[in-house]
Symmetry: C2
Subunit: 138 residues, 2 copies
DNA sequence: AATTAATTGCAACAAAGTTTTATTTTTTTG
DNA sequence: CAAAAAAATAAAACTTTGTTGCAATTAATT
């Protein structure tokens, strides 16, 4: 049984060509992907299938979403702590303004934020933008 | 000259009915607005006009965008420090999972984040979600 | 008041996302 | 392994969201 199949089974998803393909794209990419990118890299899959696959991957805790200001949604692989229904992605995300890549910065956790009275925090998303390490090497 | 006219002139925008109407909506709302909401509350304005107005308000520094995970864009009034081309909105945003409102939390600034070597930060967005002060009163 | 410049609304279009349904594929069961 | 059941897929139709070009209108300038 391949790594992909094992991973999908672990999350209680039936193993299909489309899911294996999309999961492989995430494993290969060291960065976040969006629907359009996946569509380009998996031309055999129907648009709708990609939407549904991303949705179930999020539900199962395989990938998580990353907020953006440009009405697109980015998705990246979760680490092991995430499971069905409960995400525990407490890390910073970095969007490079030069190459456009979005990275999970797993090493950096989001600091606790002290909110005004009455506000109760359940989750926090922190997206830093700037110039990434690769773009700064050139 | 009305408050609205003064404000628009200050930002070098010609004064039109549509812009006054939309600006008024932002002043009234103590929260972020999205395109669809404005469309509902200003039915006399063409969809396209609303898109263009939001765009020029952002350019002029009257409003700023707030990142979301749901492929929508939220907009909220800027404070005085923002001007043409340079936004200085360094505050936390709060999204209430109960009432759906998005607030600017001006009192809380985004902490400095120490990134891994090679990454250079230009901007940071922090969105906290949970239960807002109003929803916690009931 | 006349001229110029900017904004608006409309139409046409493009892109993004959803819903329904029949077909195909995967999983389960005997 | 084959049959039955369950789940996922593709295709089509549709809705929503966002963009572009252009003529008509409105606002600013002279
Ligand atoms: Mn991440
Ligand atoms: Mn704000
Ligand atoms: Zn980069
Ligand atoms: Zn609330």
């Amino acid at each position: 049984m391949s790594q992909l199949e094992t991973l999908l089974k672990k999350y209680n998803l039936s193993v299909t060509e489309g899911r294996k393909k999309i999961l492989q794209l995430f494993l290969d990419a060291n960065a976040a992907l969006e629907h359009a990118t996946i569509e380009q890299n998996a031309p055999s899959l129907d648009r709708v299938t990609i939407y549904r696959t991303l949705q179930s991957f999020v539900e199962k805790g395989i990938i998580h979403t990353i907020p953006t200001t440009d009405s697109s949604i980015k998705y990246a692989l979760c680490k092991d702590e995430c499971g069905h229904g409960h995400h525990h992605d407490n890390h910073v995300h970095f969007l490079c303004n030069t190459c456009g890549t979005t990275f999970c910065i797993e090493q950096v956790t989001i600091p606790k934020i002290k909110l005004p009275a009455g506000f109760v925090s359940q989750q926090a998303d922190l997206v830093v933008s700037g110039r990434c390490n690769l773009c700064n090497q050139n």
